[in-house]
């Protein structure tokens, strides 16, 4: 095991060590904490760059640590890993900057940044997990690390939201445990393998289906799939950087990512198709897309509306995965990145509105375009991307999903996408109209957010914009996802 091949371990350790250091530094050492925070985030970004280059060149990154007889903690990096870990590394850096600005004068910053780093470590662990067992370890760690962030403010509402969050996610974790142990008992230990490692005759079809569904539900809780979505809108009481992190990178993505792994690398597309569970996933995803959008329409609180939008948008990923078709896969996987970039922009903006202008409700957005033009511009770019206006990022995702649906012989997918797009427009456009064209009556005074909030917002918006506009360029999310899809489908063509 060379140091180069062990890089995935270091990827996790950068955040883990950062968390330990931050806890050790304590509340008062503000400057040292900032150095650790940003230093670790930057280091992680460098590591990601090195691994990214290696994976593209076909190098193997794998670390195996025996944990108990028959179980190894396997950390490795493949193309899919890098999709999530690149996203999390980039967004960790800018969210850290944002959070430092956002929490400037609030208490418990040591606790906040410690668990924040732990949360990123767990997300990275989910990304680099090389088998279901390792995945489960980090999946549970993620639950624990995010809880203190959700209840950060310590108010009754925050504590209640934390309770709901834990009830859902720990329940999901217990189901996942049963599923993983069950699968281990029938199919033995197996690392994630392109095309899956579960033999068709490992167990009766009903048992394999049951285990798949149990694990799907266990992971679907974090992905906020209807009807396991209840925790997500409630968790909005958390500070804005936490919401951004939960929604764009960490929790929901860990769930969606797990389902991708389960489908591609555990069961494999051919077995998933044979059992008929792929279409079930797609159907649940379609239902979630529509339901989330409908609820977003009626939400009046800005962050609530964004939360329901997340419920809807994350299921695009699952829709693409469930259809089991190369084009749909590209659409779904690329949305993992696109949704992350756009949603984090929206939450940064929402946080800035609340902090600077005290605007928390949709109907208070009047005139925001004039009061905070740069922030509102970023909001607009991300919102239009979410709707799927060509050539923005959301459009790229939806285009491939639609093509994939047609290619898979499921034309209803197009109808779902059209309906969802209309609903997206129906809840985003009125906000934009209020902000840019309505006046709040008072004297207009331009007062932007401080630089620590504004810069991350603009960078995130620029990334979201670039991901769509430059989708055809090398190293764009789309090109990377195409590489993944090629590997998945060429190595293991579905029968």
């Amino acid at each position: 095991m060379t140091a180069y091949a062990a890089l995935p371990l270091w990827l996790v350790l950068t955040s883990l060590v950062a968390a330990a250091l931050i806890f050790a530094l304590g509340e008062a050492r503000r400057r040292a904490r900032t150095v650790v925070n940003l230093g670790a985030a930057a280091l992680k970004l460098v590591l990601v760059g090195v691994i990214l280059d290696g994976v593209a060149a076909g190098h193997l990154f794998s670390v195996r640590l025996p944990l108990m007889p028959g179980f190894d903690l396997v950390l490795r990096a493949d193309a899919l890993t890098m999709l999530l870990s690149t996203l999390s590394a980039v967004l960790w850096l800018i969210t850290t900057v944002y959070a430092i600005g956002y929490l400037e004068h609030s208490p418990h910053r040591c606790r906040f940044f410690g668990f924040f780093s732990l949360c990123v470590a767990a997300t990275t662990g989910v990304a680099v997990a090389g088998n279901l067992f390792t995945f489960f370890v980090f999946y549970e760690l993620l639950t624990l690390a995010t809880w203190p962030l959700v209840v950060h403010r310590g108010t009754a509402a925050a504590l209640a939201a934390g309770d709901v969050y834990l009830r859902y996610t720990l329940g999901g974790g217990a189901l996942l445990l049963l599923g993983v142990v069950g699968l281990h008992a029938v199919a033995g230990p197996g690392d994630f393998t392109a095309g899956g490692f579960v033999p068709v005759d490992a167990a009766p079809a009903w048992l394999l289906t049951l285990l798949f569904l149990v694990m799907f539900v266990g992971m679907g809780v974090k992905a906020a799939v209807v009807p396991m979505h209840g925790w997500l809108p409630r968790a909005m009481v958390a500070p804005a950087p936490v919401s951004a992190l939960l929604h764009a990178v960490a929790v929901v993505k860990a769930g969606a990512f797990g389902i991708v792994r389960l489908t591609y690398d555990v069961y494999g597309l051919s077995l998933v198709a044979a059992l008929g569970v792929g279409l079930a996933v797609a159907a649940v995803a379609a239902l979630t897309i529509l339901y989330g959008s409908l609820r977003a329409l009626t939400a009046t609180d800005l962050k609530q509306r964004l939360a329901w939008s997340t419920v809807s948008q994350v299921s695009y990923i699952l829709l693409g995965v469930g259809l089991g078709n190369p084009l749909a896969s590209v659409g779904g996987l690329v949305h993992l990145v696109h949704q992350g970039l756009m949603k984090i922009t929206l939450f940064f903006c929402a946080g800035a509105f609340a902090e600077v202008a005290g605007v928390k409700r949709v109907d208070e957005l009047d005139g925001m375009g004039r009061r905070m033009p740069l922030t509102m511009a970023a909001f607009t770019v991300a919102a239009l991307g979410m709707i799927g206006l060509p050539p923005l990022a959301g459009f790229v995702s939806k285009w491939y999903l639609g093509l994939g649906g047609l290619a898979a012989g499921q034309p209803w997918v197009v109808a779902v996408l059209v309906a969802s797009t209309l609903l997206n427009a129906a809840y985003f456009l009125p906000m934009l109209r209020r902000a840019w064209f309505n006046s709040d009556g008072g004297a207009v005074e331009v007062r932007e957010a401080p630089l620590a909030l504004l810069a991350p917002t603009l960078i995130a918006a620029a990334l979201a914009l670039g991901a769509g506009l430059l989708a055809a360029m090398p190293w764009s999310p789309l090109q990377w996802v195409t590489l993944i899809a090629e590997r998945v489908y060429l190595l293991a063509p579905p029968s």
């Binding site: 944990l67 108990m68 007889p69 040591c110 489960f136 549970e140 760690l141 203190p148 310590g154 142990v181």
Partner: protein, 488 residues
């Protein structure tokens, strides 16, 4: 690396007689203050390193047998140390060292200083617990159980009327359990004509003897529905005593149940009865957890958690297999470490805020974030969260249930982890809550805590978490010398 040839022959008596001689010395010299302060801590640090060569010897060469006075069974009494015994001895020495350090650190604070009687009883109890882990003779175990019970009762006493009532109730339960156990010993002798566990395993026992021995030990281990004495006693006892009682004393009885059911009793009950026993155990898990969720006092939450956590032991007879054995063994170990850490941390909280009502913990993390972190880490192991040792234990138990085709126990074990998470989180949640006003924030008394009083539980909690990473080594050790082996 230490060569195993140094031990283990003399390590075994040392583990028993060093603490007991220490007790004698403390009793003879009650006024020598430095001795009273230093001896428990020093003995803990002296005996803990013995576990390494002993564990090494057992892992490599299998179980170690020592015939006391050179007389082998059936004439003499034997001590028998296999992998499980090493794990329990390791737990005993670790907790003893931590508690010794805690008592040492608490000494300068007059209110926390232990009396000579407390020190004597603790050392006596410790020696007896080590002997219990090794004894392979039913009647010898009875005598040791009595010493442990009396020592435990003394440790509880000392805090007003509540503690007296709790101690009296503990005494009555413990003596009743002892006598039912003694009846079992007599019946077993009538059946088999021997008291040696080694010889009994071949002879086979009748149902009355098995039932009486099991019931007697269930009293001692406070397994539902015979748990009535535990919550009050463990909650009312002084901090160090609570840690010892919950982590070690009830654990010794649970350990004996495990040992008897794997070696001696196997095959003596029908599968339906074994399922019934497992139902009792898991009902205890459910009951203890629900009670823990309803308590308003911190120490009672932890005490009820002990009632819950010991219930898993009764799964072993039903699941009978190497994985279940490993799982329960590691569970006992991780629970002991975590529980001692939690009681010591809770004791620190009480010293700092003079209160242990959950409602009054709000804002605690401003003054006692370290102790809260310890509590959280230990609780994480208790709830079976990765990568803590409790997680590995839970994993093995779930897997054992699946392999045995008893999927209902797999679901029950997974679900009961959630309940444990529930009562741990409930405490943390109370501490993370923002106090309504600054005046209600806990008053700073964190200065009353010396570094050793925080370091002791911190090391225990760290061990509970870190042992999960040593499972590749602990699993085979638990199986060393046992009747189980893993299929390749």
């Amino acid at each position: 690396m230490i060569e195993p040839s140094l031990t283990p022959a003399w390590a075994l008596p040392a583990l028993v007689f060093v603490p007991m001689l220490g007790a004698l010395v403390l009793w003879l010299l009650p006024r020598w203050q430095p001795l009273q302060r230093w001896l428990p801590a020093v003995l803990g640090l002296v005996l803990l390193p013995l576990m390494w060569p002993l564990g090494h010897a057992v892992a490599v060469d299998g179980a170690v047998t020592l015939a006391l006075g050179g007389h082998r069974a059936p004439l003499g009494i034997e001590w028998y140390v296999d992998g499980l015994a090493v794990l329990l001895l390791g737990l005993n020495q670790t907790v003893a060292a931590a508690v010794g350090g805690y008592l040492w650190g608490a000494w300068p604070h007059a209110a926390q200083r232990h009396s000579p009687g407390f020190g004597v009883c603790w050392l006596l109890l410790w020696g007896a617990l080590n002997a219990l882990a090794m004894s392979a003779d039913l009647f010898n175990i009875y005598v040791l159980l009595e010493i442990v019970s009396l020592g435990g009762v003394v440790l509880v006493v000392g805090r007003g009327a509540g503690a007296f009532a709790a101690a009296m109730r503990y005494l009555l339960f413990a003596l009743t359990g002892s006598l039912i156990y003694l009846l079992g010993v007599a019946l077993a002798y009538a059946d088999a004509g021997t008291l040696s566990l080694r010889l009994l395993a071949d002879a086979g026992l009748g149902a009355p003897a098995v039932t009486a021995l099991t019931l007697g030990l269930m009293f001692k281990a406070a397994l539902w529905p015979l748990h009535g004495w535990l919550p009050a006693a463990h909650a009312a006892a002084p901090t160090a005593a609570s840690a010892v009682l919950s982590a070690l004393v009830v654990k010794a009885a649970a350990y004996l149940l495990l040992r008897l059911w794997s070696d001696v009793f196997s095959g003596s009950w029908t599968p339906a009865l074994l399922q019934a026993l497992a139902v009792i155990g898991m009902t205890g898990v459910l009951f203890g957890s629900v009670q823990a969720l309803r308590q308003v006092h911190l120490k009672r939450v932890i005490a009820y958690s002990t009632v819950a956590q010991l219930g898993y032991v009764l799964l072993l007879p039903a699941l009978a297999g190497a994985l279940a054995w490993q799982g329960v063994a590691l569970h006992l170990l991780s629970h002991g470490l975590a529980k001692a850490a939690m009681f010591l941390a809770a004791g620190n909280v009480i010293i700092a805020i003079r209160d242990d009502r959950l409602d009054n913990l709000a804002g605690l993390d401003r003054v006692l974030s370290g102790n809260l972190f310890i509590f959280a880490a230990a609780g994480m192991s208790l709830a079976g969260m990765p990568p803590a040792a409790g997680f590995v234990a839970k994993w093995w138990l779930v897997r054992a249930a699946v392999d045995a085709g008893q999927w209902w126990w797999a679901i029950a074990v997974a679900a009961s982890g959630l309940l444990a998470a529930g009562y741990v989180i409930r405490v943390l949640r109370a501490a993370l809550a923002s106090p309504d006003s600054f005046a209600e924030a806990p008053r700073h008394r964190a200065r009353d805590l010396s570094p050793a009083m925080v370091a002791a539980p911190a090391l225990l909690a760290a061990a509970a978490v870190a042992l999960g990473l040593g499972a590749a080594w602990l699993g085979p050790l638990a199986l060393a010398g046992s009747t189980w082996s893993l299929a390749p």
